[in-house]
């Protein structure tokens, strides 16, 4: 019935990377599976990894469902993905450095000036400032979908503070604990080097004024934030400070942490709060989460903020269309990973096409995230489509549309046994002195049969993601 690419079965045959997993599932009786599933849930609950779902009310400590059936890539598949991801991360950073500097890509007519400078994420406050090593986005999360054995598309880029990496690490940890045999039978590339790699990346962009081993801190909005678990988890793994705005102050052009032994200088801040909350003197004056004077310390070279304020201008859905052009323009290479064809409703012709084909397309808000405010044409009722039509007509600039992609499926444990469910992939690329990517990422799975929306806020789950060693 399905025309979707099934990552495990092709033409009735098991694909090579999943060969051993077939034996594993065959050997697992239903009772054992249920027991293991309950055990996994208990483990997740014990470590406290939960995800608050915005706008849905209900239990803020709800777990993201974990599916025990791993998603597997061969070494060859991964190598190509890795080259494509690193290439994209390099191009996005080159773009950011350029648009806050000489703007060659705009002058060359490759990207419209209005899309850059009238973009809400463009921060005039950092125009002309060059961050250490010229890097704006140090952690680039690139959302990728697969539609065939050799067909991958980038769905969107996340240059600000992509979340979810703690799931990548915890999913692996729990799988290893529950199924040690699996990890003996399969040669799986480890992902636990992520924390060291992140720490190296952050340390490598310490300000020039820092003449010793840099002190690193993760700036969190606090425990009420839905990703607080991840903030404290990463701080623990890296052995760095976890701080809130109130723990910090600016003096003499540097940022200081209040400690029981007196103030300690902070050199690199991995911030998990939005630009507009960073510094009430520079951005929102009502922000209580940030640090007054932080942007002055940053712009005068006393501290590094990761990712750099203003990095969001590269991951906007309207700018997305131009990323392949960035790859050609800055790197002189052809893009290894393709974009999904995208219609911009801001363009009259595109908008006309979109309005005529709403029932076939996926329509998204330009600045939206988390799967909110989107229309999946083929899965929507006539009423939903008509309501959305009005929204687009009212504010066309706010929408883009893409074809409904045939997202690949992987086997997933469901009530009735094992069934194919759609998945995507978010790898986390680290950009510092070197560009690093741990072999793996976060696989999100749409647990509802037929659903193409993998966002955890819309009932998606997660899986362990394997890259097989050669």
């Amino acid at each position: 019935m399905s025309t979707y690419f099934n990552e495990m079965y092709e033409h009735g045959q098991v694909r090579e990377p999943y060969a051993r997993l077939e034996d594993w599932t065959r050997a697992m009786p239903a009772e054992l599976r249920q027991m293991k599933q309950a055990e996994a849930e208990a483990l997740f609950r014990r470590i406290g990894i939960t995800f608050a779902v915005y706008g849905e009310g209900g239990d803020p400590d709800r777990l993201i469902p974990f599916d025990m059936f791993p998603r597997v890539f061969t070494q060859n598949e991964w190598r190509k993905l890795e080259r494509g991801i690193k290439q994209r991360a390099r191009a996005l950073n080159a773009f950011l450095l350029d648009v806050y500097g000489r703007a060659e890509i705009v002058k060359a007519g490759k990207v419209p000036a209005t899309l850059v400078y009238q973009n809400e994420a463009y921060e005039r406050a950092v125009a002309g400032f060059t961050p250490p090593r010229g890097i704006y986005s140090h952690i680039v999360g690139i959302d990728i979908v697969r539609t065939g054995a050799d067909e991958f598309f980038v769905l969107e880029d996340n240059c600000r503070t992509p979340s979810g990496v703690s799931y990548m690490l915890e999913n692996r940890e729990i799988m290893m604990r529950m199924f040690p045999d699996l990890f003996r039978e399969n040669r799986i590339e480890p992902v636990d080097g992520y924390a060291d790699a992140l720490r190296r990346t952050l340390a490598s962009v310490a300000p020039a004024k820092c003449d010793r081993e840099p002190t690193i801190g993760i700036l969190t909005p606090g425990h009420f934030n839905s990703a607080y678990y991840e903030h404290s988890f990463l701080a623990d793994l890296m052995g760095v400070e976890l701080v809130e705005g109130a723990d910090l102050f600016v003096e003499g052009g540097f940022v200081w942490m209040r400690t029981t032994e007196g103030p300690k200088k902070l050199d690199v801040i991995y911030r998990r709060i939005d630009d507009s909350f960073l510094d009430p003197l520079c951005f929102r004056p009502d922000s209580m989460l940030g640090v007054p004077g932080l942007m002055d310390a940053y712009r005068s070279g006393g501290v590094t903020i990761c990712s750099a304020p203003g990095a969001g201008v590269a991951d906007d859905k309207a700018i997305y269309t131009f990323v392949p052009e960035m790859v050609r323009f800055y790197l002189g290479e052809e893009p290894i990973l393709n974009n999904v064809p995208t219609w911009q409703c801001s363009k009259a012709d595109d908008c006309k096409y979109v309005l005529e084909h709403l029932s076939e397309l996926v329509v998204k808000e330009v600045h939206g995230s988390g799967g909110y405010g989107m229309l999946v044409g083929p899965k929507s009722t006539k009423d939903q489509i008509e309501t959305f039509r009005l929204k687009i007509e009212e504010n066309p600039d706010n929408y883009i549309a893409q074809p409904t992609l045939s997202l690949s499926t992987t086997p997933t444990f469901v009530e009735e046994g094992i069934a194919p469910r759609h998945v995507d992939l978010r790898p986390y690329c680290l950009v510092g002195e070197k560009i690093e990517l741990v072999p793996g990422g976060l696989t999100r799975v749409a647990l509802t049969e037929g659903s193409l929306v993998v966002n955890s806020s819309q009932g998606g789950g997660v899986k362990d993601t394997w890259v097989l060693a050669e």
């Binding site: 850059v116 463009y122 005039r124 002309g128 600016v250 052009g253 003197l281 004077g293 002055d296």
Partner: protein, 270 residues
């Protein structure tokens, strides 16, 4: 003209503050119309932080004051030479793109009456420079200079509805009107030397800059119905008064704050 400037701003706190942090945009711009002979900024009891020149060409310097803080006093003294450039900001180095100055802010929100004022003022004139002059004149006529009727929080739309205001309101209204026509505009803070008309004027001043295609940024002082000349000293710019403020500060603590400002601008040479 050569001016000596002496500008002291004092904040007094009823209840001592735990600490205070400031970001100062209190340095004369560098462009063909003015030259700094000397310039000193000091915050009594404060620790000087980092300084840098931002993308708009403004020098910014951070300061912090350790608590308990009962008073913060920021003193500026300097000497600047100016020449009349008919308001044109020539020779000013900046990286920020003019299109970044089309963004609306609370103070420069474009309501129907501002949009209408802009359309009527522009009429069928398409030349951007003539448009800019017409907009400035229209704002001068729509808002009478009346101190005490508006405050720091008054928006452009509110001042226009009131028909009265001070230089901040004229600048906000002109900025909003220009942006409504797609013309980049920004708020400029600085000093104005009192004219010899027997009246006393506030030496701290503000006006608008409009970006005119083919020329660049040009200052328009709708409050005084003119373009900045040798009587103006330019400090810094921003999307609105809040962003362009020469002094931005945050004091940690609760309690009332009292502000006292004295500015003296004397011509030492014509």
């Amino acid at each position: 003209m050569i001016f000596t400037v002496s500008h002291v701003t004092t904040y007094r706190y009823e209840v001592p503050m735990r600490s205070a942090v400031q970001s100062l945009r209190l340095f004369p711009s560098r462009f063909d119309g003015q030259r700094t002979i000397h310039w000193d900024v000091a915050v009594e009891g404060g620790v000087r932080g980092g300084s840098f020149r931002d993308g708009a060409g403004d020098k910014v310097e951070g300061w912090s004051i350790r608590g308990p803080v009962t008073e913060v006093s920021i003193s500026v003294s300097g000497q600047v030479e100016t020449i009349d450039n008919a308001g044109v900001l020539r020779g000013h180095r900046e990286v920020a793109h003019p299109l970044a100055y089309l963004r609306e802010t609370t103070a420069t929100w474009i309501d129907d009456s501002i949009a209408a004022l802009a359309i009527e003022a522009a009429g069928d004139v398409t030349d951007p420079l003539s448009r800019a002059h017409r907009l400035s004149r229209a704002v001068s006529e729509a808002i009478a200079y009346t101190p005490g009727r508006t405050d720091a929080q008054t928006t452009a739309a509110e001042a226009l509805a009131l028909g009265e205001g001070v230089c901040q309101d004229h600048a906000h209204a002109l900025i909003a009107a220009a942006r409504s026509l797609g013309m980049p505009a920004r708020y400029v803070s600085g000093y104005l030397h009192a004219r010899d008309d027997g009246e006393s004027h506030e030496a701290s001043h503000a006006w608008a800059e409009l970006h005119v295609a083919g020329i660049g940024w040009i200052g328009f002082d709708a409050a005084n119905r003119c373009c900045p000349d040798a009587n103006y000293i330019r400090l810094g710019s921003g999307l609105d008064a809040r962003e362009a403020a020469p002094i931005k500060g945050v004091a940690q603590g609760a309690g009332e704050e009292a502000l006292e400002v004295t500015v003296a601008l004397d011509a030492v040479q014509q």
